[in-house]
């Protein structure tokens, strides 16, 4: 990101917040933290990220270590979530699954967020044929069902986590580009942009220093909701066998491994499913809270 964008965000949001300046922006941040939706979402995602980052310290066992003498043990004090077919500890695998989910969000959505913001900026700022080309590409990518296009990309480049990040990024940048473009179209005519142009600032400076800080919020809201969708999507892909491959402790892959024993050993598939639900609820609450903040 351009240095002026970071500078503007710092001086507008971060510094007033910590300095305790009594500005309206600080008020909105306080509202954000007081809003029950976003409060719950922040706490849930905070815990998720903490567990994900410190997975090696928190998980009681190695998620890959097999112990065939303890195959399919029910939940107990030594194994709170039980063990799977190969005697691996389910709680450790669910905890490592959180790390994979966070990685999918940060890498997949992160790339999509950057590409989408840049493409949308180009499209909205310059218009004309640049806009026409970018928007037709966006329209055609969005003509495919999300899941189908990701499956096709995975079929081309082969299954595995790395290709999954890549596939998710290729498909999901479009929505960000659309949001940013429509925001630029209305923002472009504002006084401050005209003033910046009149002073003779370069296009890069107008885009990164003036337009981007004022149009990035809607994409941040969307990114939070997108994380929820992408976690569901990645789990579905791994479940049907084209995403993360066993023995990777991805939640969807774990459910696929446990599906045959749902009647005799419910815990193998149920706890990863609860992990998915937890992450999705957390991100949607956070996204709802952010949206409330934006609409006020």
């Amino acid at each position: 990101m351009h240095k002026t964008t970071i500078g503007t965000i710092m001086s507008r949001y971060i510094v007033p917040f910590f300095a305790g300046e009594d500005t309206t922006r600080w008020e909105t941040l306080k509202n954000f933290i007081k809003n029950p939706n976003s409060k719950a979402g922040l706490i849930m995602i905070g815990i998720l990220t903490f567990v994900a980052i410190f997975a090696p310290l928190i998980a009681p066992y190695d998620p890959y270590r097999q112990n065939l003498s303890e195959s399919l043990n029910p939940p107990s004090l030594t194994h709170p979530f039980g063990t799977d077919l190969y005697g691996r500890d389910v709680i450790s695998r669910v905890i490592y699954g959180a790390w994979i989910a966070v990685k999918i969000c940060v890498i997949g959505i992160g790339i999509a967020f950057i590409i989408g913001n840049l493409a949308g900026a180009l499209s909205g700022y310059y218009g004309g044929w640049i806009d026409a080309i970018i928007m037709r590409i966006v329209d055609s990518i969005m003509s495919f069902p999300f899941l189908v296009l990701v499956i096709a990309i995975m079929a081309i480049f082969g299954p595995g986590l790395k290709n999954l990040y890549f596939a998710i990024a290729i498909v999901s940048w479009c929505q960000y580009a659309r949001i940013v473009r429509s925001k630029y179209l209305s923002e472009k005519e504002e006084e401050y942009v005209r003033a910046a142009k009149a002073i003779g600032f370069s296009d890069t400076r107008v885009i990164f220093g003036h337009l981007m800080p004022n149009s990035i919020m809607p994409t941040i809201v969307y990114a939070s909701l997108d994380c929820a969708l992408v976690i569901l999507l990645a789990a579905s892909l791994s479940f049907i066998g084209v995403g993360a491959q066993p023995p990777t402790p991805e939640w969807g892959a774990q459910i696929a491994e446990g599906r045959q024993f749902l009647q005799v050993a419910w815990w193998v598939a149920t706890f990863p499913a609860l992990g998915i639900m937890y992450a999705v609820i957390g991100f949607s609450l956070l996204g709802d809270g952010l949206r409330d903040l934006l609409e006020k």
């Binding site: 037709r136 590409i137 329209d139 055609s140 990518i141 969005m142 003509s143 495919f144 069902p145 999300f146 899941l147 189908v148 296009l149 499956i151 096709a152 995975m154 079929a155 081309i156 480049f157 929820a228 569901l232 789990a235 579905s236 479940f239 049907i240 066998g241 084209v242 969807g252 459910i255 599906r259 749902l262 009647q263 598939a269 499913a273 998915i276 639900m277 999705v280 609820i281 949607s284 609450l285």
Partner: protein, 312 residues
């Protein structure tokens, strides 16, 4: 502008997108790292068989000629031959289209049947227990992965209680509905949660408008106000939610058809991915993309019909 002219202009406006979609589908075979023929047949294939497949897929021609041949083939209404099934792809798709189509239509019906009354109920008692219950449960349903709900429903209702068949597609209309009940309900749940939330918030917004106040002062019953005045105006954003998420619904058929072993297009796509039948993957992706483009077009036209201000 009249609705007819709007319809025509919108239709021809889709041409560039249609062309890029075709090109994307065409590229699917050519983006495979290394030699596509080797990728399809595996490393054990003999050089003669590789050469034969390359010829069949037209990989020996220059790339622009291949694209021309691809378009010419489409112009004749053909999508090529499936490598695995050794049959024309159009035939394969059409023989399975009815399963996927009925699944999607039935889940859209479920979605409307469930979400309309629920959201009306929630708006009527806003801020009270029913509203809260609807909001919390829709959040939970939204968060549950479809394949998981599908597995649980399959285990409880089909395996334990024997109320529904566990797999496959039936014979005759009633039997098919019986087979489709559980999969389409599960497929529709995600969308139901989204639509319920959207309709609830749109209804609340419309109910704050002045013409609703006017209707109230006239002394109309709640029933008239909700159904005749508010619902009609709240429906437009709801159609948007339904229309925009048809892609999600179509994509999810891959997962649901796999869980319930339904012989639809989605399950065939997964089959094709596993055996690396790239022409079939291309064909199915193209059909799905066409379905969504058609859907977006129809949704736009519906907009025009419901709210003529859009095209004027």
């Amino acid at each position: 502008m009249s609705l007819g002219r709007y319809a025509l202009r919108r239709f021809f406006g889709m041409a560039p997108v249609f062309f890029i979609v075709l090109f994307t589908v065409f590229l699917m075979l050519h983006l495979i790292p290394g030699d596509p023929a080797k990728n399809i047949l595996g490393i054990m294939a003999t050089p003669e068989r590789l050469e034969q497949l390359r010829d069949a897929l037209g990989l020996n021609e220059p790339i622009y000629k291949q694209f021309y041949l691809f378009l010419a083939q489409l112009g004749h209404g053909s999508l090529g031959m499936s490598i695995r099934y050794k049959a024309p792809i159009t035939e394969l798709i059409f023989s399975r289209l009815k399963v996927t189509l009925s699944l999607v239509i039935m889940s859209a019906v479920f979605c409307v049947i469930i979400s309309l009354p629920l959201s009306l109920w929630a708006t009527k008692h806003r801020g009270k227990a029913p509203d809260y219950a609807v909001r919390v449960s829709s959040l939970f349903i939204f968060s549950m992965p479809e394949f998981w709900t599908g597995l649980v429903a399959l285990n409880i209702f089909a395996l334990r209680f024997g109320l529904f068949p566990t797999r496959g597609w039936g014979v005759g209309l009633l039997d098919n509905l019986h087979h489709l009940f559980l999969p389409s309900l599960i497929l529709g749940l995600f969308l139901t949660a989204l639509v319920t939330r959207a309709l609830r918030s749109d209804m609340l917004e419309v109910l704050r408008k002045e013409y609703i106040q006017t209707a109230k002062t006239y002394g109309f019953s709640d029933r008239t106000i909700y159904l005749k005045y508010a619902l009609k105006n709240a429906l437009l954003p709801t159609i948007t939610v339904l229309g925009l998420n048809l892609g999600w619904l179509l994509g999810s058929t891959v997962v649901i058809e796999t869980v319930f072993s339904l012989p639809g297009i989605g399950a065939m796509l997964l089959d094709a991915v596993i055996v690396r039948d790239y022409p079939l993957i291309q064909g199915i992706s193209l059909i799905f993309a066409l379905a969504i483009m058609l859907n977006n077009y129809v949704v736009d036209m519906l907009y025009g019909l419901i709210d003529p201000r859009i095209y004027r």
